[in-house]
Amino acid sequence: MPKTVCAKWAGCGAAAKNKNTDMKTVYIMWLRQIKRYLRSRSRIVGALGQPILFLVALGYGLGATFQKAGEGNYFTFLGPGIIGMSIIFTAIFSGIEIIWDRQFGFLKETLVAPVSRFSIMMGRTLGGATVATIQGIIVFLIVLIPGFRPFNWALVPVAILFMLLVALLFTALGTMIASLLEDMQGFQLIMNFIVMPLFFLSGALFPLEGLPAALSAITKFDPLTYGIDAFRTLLVNLPVIGIGPDLAVLATVTAVFLILGSYFFSKIQV
C-alpha cells in the first residue's frame, strides 16, 4: 500500500500554485518531444530520405544546366534550400502531431492538468522546433558531402539560430492547423495545399529573380522565402532580400503564429 508522503509536501491535494509550474510544464513537454524523436529512428531516417533524394536528383540532374545558365554551382545554391525543406516538413509535422495525441488520448492527460494551455502549447512547439532544427543541422552535414561549403564558418552558428526561428514558425503553424482539425482526414489537403506550395514557392530549388510578376508576388507572401534567403545569405553569401528584412518578417510571422496557435489550442475540446 502506498503510505502517505503527503506530510512532506505542503502542496498535497489542492496545492497552492507554484511559480515554476509553467516553466516545468514547458520543460517536460519539450523533453517529451525530444525523447520521442530520439526513439523513432525510422522517423529520423525517413525524414532525411526526401531531402537527400532532392539533393541527389536535382543537384546532379540540373547542376550542369544551372552552371551553363551562368548561375554558378547548383549545390551551393541548393544546399540552403534543402536545409529549409527538411525544417519545414519536420516542423509542420511536429505541430500536426497534436492530432495523433488527440486520437491516442494523450492530449486529455495534459488538458486536465492544473497548468496553462499556453505553457503546454509553448513546450510542445519548442520541442518540435528543436527537433526540426536538429534535422536541419543533420541535412547541413549531409550537403557537405557533394561539395557544399559555407563561405564563412563563423556564420554557421548564426544560420543555426535562423533555422530555429524558421522551425518555430512552422511548428506553430502546424499546431494552429492541428488545433482546427478534428482528425487526420484533412491531412492530404494540408500536404497539397499548404506544405507543398510553401516549399515550392520559397525559392528553395530555383532563383526567384526573373519570375513572372504574379508568381513573384506570391513568393513574397511565403514566410519560407525569407528563411531560405537568410540561410543563403549566411551560408553562401547569396542574398536577394537581405538579412535585416528576413529577420523582421520571420520574427513577426512567428509571433503571430504563436499567438494564433495558442489561441486555437486553448479552444480545443476533447
Binding site: P2, C12, G13, A14, K17, R39, G105, F106, P114
Partner: protein
Amino acid sequence: MTHDATAENIISVTGLVKKFGDFTAVDDISFSVKKGEIFAFLGPNGAGKSTTIKMLTTLLAPTAGTITMNGHSTTAEPDAVRRSFGIVFQDPSLDDELTAYENMEFHGYLYDVPADVMKERIPELLRFVELWDRRGSLVKEFSGGMRRRLEIARGLLHHPKVIFLDEPTLGLDPQTRNHMWSYLQNLNKTEGITVFFTTHYMEEAERIAERIAIIDHGKIIASGTSDDLKKQTNKPSLEDAFLELTGKVIREEESNAQDRMRQMGRMWRGGKK
C-alpha cells in the same frame, strides 16, 4: 437527497445544465458525493454521463449551474479543482513512446510534485499496481490491463482527493477487473480517497458502490444505495432495477469525428500488435 454544500460533501453539483445548440445533454441535475465515498454514476449510452464527467473534470464549461469540488468552483478555480482529482479516462491516455516510469514523471511535472516526493511515490505506486519490474518498458509494449493499471497509478501520483474512473474495467478480463477493484477499495479505505466511477457492468456497481445515481435523458432519475434502488423498483438485482428505470430500448449514439478517431485509433493499435 440534500444538496447543501456541507463540509461532508467533496463534490456538490447544483442545477447543472449543458446544451449543445438545441440539444440539452444535461438537464438541470443536482447531486452530491460525500468525502470518502465510492460513488457509481450509471446510465445508458447518450444519457449525459460523459458530458457530466467532462464538466466535473473541467474539460467542458457548463451552460448553467455550479459544481464545487474539494471546496473549489470548477469554473472560477479550475486549477485548484484539477489538483484535487485524478482521472482514468475511458480510452487510454498514456504516451506509448515513453516508458511507464516516464509517463509517471511527466504527470508529476505537470502537477508540480516535488522531485523528492516523486522519487518515493512513483516506486510505491508502480509496486502497488505491480508494474515496478516493467518501469523501463515502453508503454506500447503493454497489454490493455497493464495500461489501465498504469493509468490508475498515474492518476494517484499527486495525492488527489477524488479519483474519477470512466468505465475503468471495459474490456478487461474478470481477474484483472477483480484485482483492480481490490486496489481501489484498499486505497479508499487507507487513504480515504473518494472514488467516482461509471460502468456498464451492473453487478460491479452493485458490489462496489456505496451509493449510486442513475442518469437518463439528461436527468437524474434515481439515486441511493443499491438496495434502495432495488426496493424502489421492486426488482431482485440492480441490473433489473436499472432496466426498469431506464427502459429496454437500445440507445443509438450518433458518432462524431472524435468517436471515429477513437475507432481508428483502436484499429491502429490492434493492427500494430
